[in-house]
Each structure stands twice: as C-alpha cells, then as structure tokens.
Amino acid sequence: MSSLTPRLTEILENLEFFPDRADRIQFLISFAERFVPIEPARASLPYPEAHRVPGCESEAFAWVFADGQGGVQCRYDVLNPQGISAQAMAVILRDGLEGASPSQVAAVPDDLVYSIFGRELSMGKTAGLMGMIGLTKALARRLTD
C-alpha cells in the first residue's frame, strides 16, 4: 500500500497553491536551488554503478543510510548540471523522507512524479524521475534485509 510521509504531503499541499504552471515551475526551481550533492565523506566520484538511477539521463545517483534512530537519510547527486528537475526531485526526496522508516520510504508511490511535475513530461524524463523514487525505495528495503 502506498502512502506519503507527512513532509511529502506538506510539499504536495504547497504545490497546490500554484495552479499556474509558471508559478509551479518557479516553486520547483526553488527546490533545485537548494540542491547539494551527497557529502564527500559518504561517497566520492566515480560513484558505484549500484547507486546510479536507472533510466535517468541527468546522471542521478542515490543513497539511503540508516540514521541510527530507526529512520533513513536519503542523499543524491546529479552529475548533469542541466538536470534541474532531477535536482528538484532530489531535494524533495531528501527533505520529504528525512527520518522516515524504511517501510515508509518503500510505500512512496512511483507516480509521485506526476503529482509534483504534472503529466506534461517526456517519456525519458518521467523514467528518470521515477527511477529516482524506485532506487530510493529499493535501497531503503535493503536496510531491512
């Protein structure tokens, strides 16, 4: 069963304040502007292929760490500087899943992409953004294996 964390729910509710496409885009860009890559102490280039987001042409990578309190910390890097949507998605997932349990992460619906970006995305872009969610969920599940 899929569900959202309280912080992801809050982000989606905030997005609803921007029915105009241009305003919504600016709101999403504000997330991208807060993007910071994974801390060098945790991972350095070249990143292991196991952390490469499949199907993401912005060359996104994802990691999920246990926070020691039963929750997770999600971290990302986006190697293509033109990958603004991937950067925005990384910040939303990092913020929205901070401290969530692995099972909460695993319950995030893949179509969260549409809730955030709308359906006017290219096939490739959709694949990449869904891939970020999918890999994050898979890495979270591994923490409990």
Binding site: A22, I25, Q26, L28, I29, A32, P54, G55, E57, S58, Q82, G83, I84, S85, A88, D110, F117, E120, L121, S122, M123, G124, K125, T126, A127, M130, G131, G134
Partner: protein
C-alpha cells in the same frame, strides 16, 4: 551559418546568435526536455516551445493542426518570413524535434543553434530569467500540415520495407537487438515485441554529437558514421525511427540538413507502434 554542412543555413553558431540578439527578424526558441530549465535562465529574448503542450494534440497521438500552429506562431509573434533559431538541452534533441514539426507546416526558415544550451553556457554567454518581450501577433496564415515530405506512417514504412528501402534505427543497441523492450521504469513506452524493423541499420542518435561541446560532429565524421559504417547514401529514400519519433527527428536533421540526403522521413510512430502492431515483420539480434 556553420560551414561545411550540406545545408549551411540550417545550422548557426552560438557566435552568430550572440551577434543578432536584437534582430527583430529572428526569433529565438528554446525547446527542452527538462520543463524547469527555461525558467532557470534562457538566452535573452528567447521564447519557449514545450513539446507536450505546444506541439502535440492533447488527445489524439498526433501533432497540432494548422489552426493550432497558427495560434502558436501568433503567440510567438512569428510571421511566415521570421527566421526561427531553435536551441535546447540534451544535445538539441528537443530543438530538432520542434524544428521538424515546424517544417511539417512548411516553415522552412528555421535553424538549429549548434551546441545548444550547453555550449552557450560553457562559453559564458548571458542567460536571463526575464520574460521574453511580447512580439505582436501578425495573423500567421492557417496552413494545414503536409506530412508527405518529412514524415512516414506505418503503412508507408511497411511498403518501404517490402521494397527493400533503407532505415536507420537510432535507439540503443539493446533496444535494437530486442534485448530491451522499454526504458526501465517506464513500461508505458514499451512494446509487446522487441527487435527492429527488417533491414534497419543501428546508429544511436547521440553518435552525431560531440558530448563535450554538444556540437554536431564535423561533416567528415558524420559521413563516416552514416555512410561508411551504416552504408546509407544521399540519394536513397531513408526512414529514421526510434521509440516515439523524438530521437529520430535529431537523426532526420543530421541526414537531411547536415549530410544533404535528398529524401529522409521520420517515422514518429516508431517502435511503440511497430512493436505493438499485429503481423508486421521484425528482426532480432
């Protein structure tokens, strides 16, 4: 204009564009895959054309009609004489796609900015977040799309195959061989059968581009890839395809505008149509 290519007017340099930012006869259009990119900064004066919202019919799998194109051109403030320069992300993939659609409507006076957005940025040229100034609508004439020259449909492709015609499949080798049916995580773009259209040569679209600069390869390199390796010739009728006709519009531009092929059509139905169609021939491996 970029020299050495077959149709030099179809390709302009970043320097050429930079020198003409205030030219009212030129309309700059940015067309990206990433919907957020234009709003983070664009070439001063550039308008945005979004391939989903602006170029596609919202219901039918087809492009906009003549009235819709005229409305788009009026929104952009373009007349039939306006020279339109397209550029964008992803090695101008989407810019080529937009140009291809514009050519379906007979707007021949349009070009690609070589290197696209990435080259403009690498050269430290200016970007702005300011909205492009509104250009007054001039009442662009309603001209219905003419698909005959640049676009191929399934039955035409079938006849082309049966006549031993040449095709170029611009997907990845794994998609071409049939090993992969769709991009991971996106089954909606998949097909029930994997492989390629019989007789197609496999030349992934991005081979035409220098990944460092985003620029098209020099003519001699393009000739080596498409003519020596793939065995295509300028005089042949060539059909390009991919999964849904976007990547192949890039190759359509390379073959037609840069190498001077006389007859190139983009099969936009591509593998999502062919691989799901009952009874059409498929090759694997």
């Amino acid at each position: 204009m970029e020299q050495g290519y077959a149709r030099p007017d179809d390709l302009v340099s970043t320097e050429w564009v930079a020198e003409r930012l205030d030219d009212p006869g030129i309309l700059l259009v940015e067309s990206n895959e990433d919907p957020l990119l234009y709003a983070t900064g664009h070439i001063p004066g550039a308008h945005e054309v979004d391939w989903t919202r602006d170029l596609n019919d919202p219901v039918v799998r087809d492009y906009l009609d003549g009235a819709g194109f005229a409305r788009l051109m009026d929104r952009l403030g373009a007349s039939p004489d306006t020279r339109i320069i397209f550029y964008g992300d992803r090695n101008n993939w989407w810019a080529c796609y937009a140009l291809w659609v514009f050519r379906l409507f007979g707007h021949e006076n349009c070009s690609i900015m070589n290197g696209g957005r990435i080259k403009w940025v690498q050269e430290g040229r200016p970007l702005t977040r300011e909205s492009a100034p509104v250009r007054p609508a001039v009442g662009y004439p309603v001209r219905e799309r003419d698909d005959s020259e640049h676009r191929a449909f399934r039955q035409e492709v079938l006849a082309h195959v049966q006549a031993g015609g040449r095709l170029v499949d611009v997907r990845s080798p794994a998609e071409f061989s049939g090993e992969k049916l769709h991009m991971e995580g996106y089954p909606n773009e998949g097909a029930l059968r994997g492989g390629h259209i019989p007789g197609a040569a496999n030349v992934p679209w991005a081979r035409a581009v220098n990944p460092e600069t985003g620029e098209f390869l020099p003519p001699a390199d393009l000739e080596r890839i498409y003519m020596e390796e793939a065995g295509l010739t300028r005089e042949e009728d060539v059909v390009a395809y991919c999964r849904i006709g976007e990547r192949s519009s890039h190759t359509w531009f390379v073959l037609r505008s840069l190498l001077g092929f006389t007859r190139v059509r983009n099969y936009d139905g591509s593998w999502t149509e062919w691989g799901n169609t009952v009874g059409v021939p498929i090759e694997r491996g």
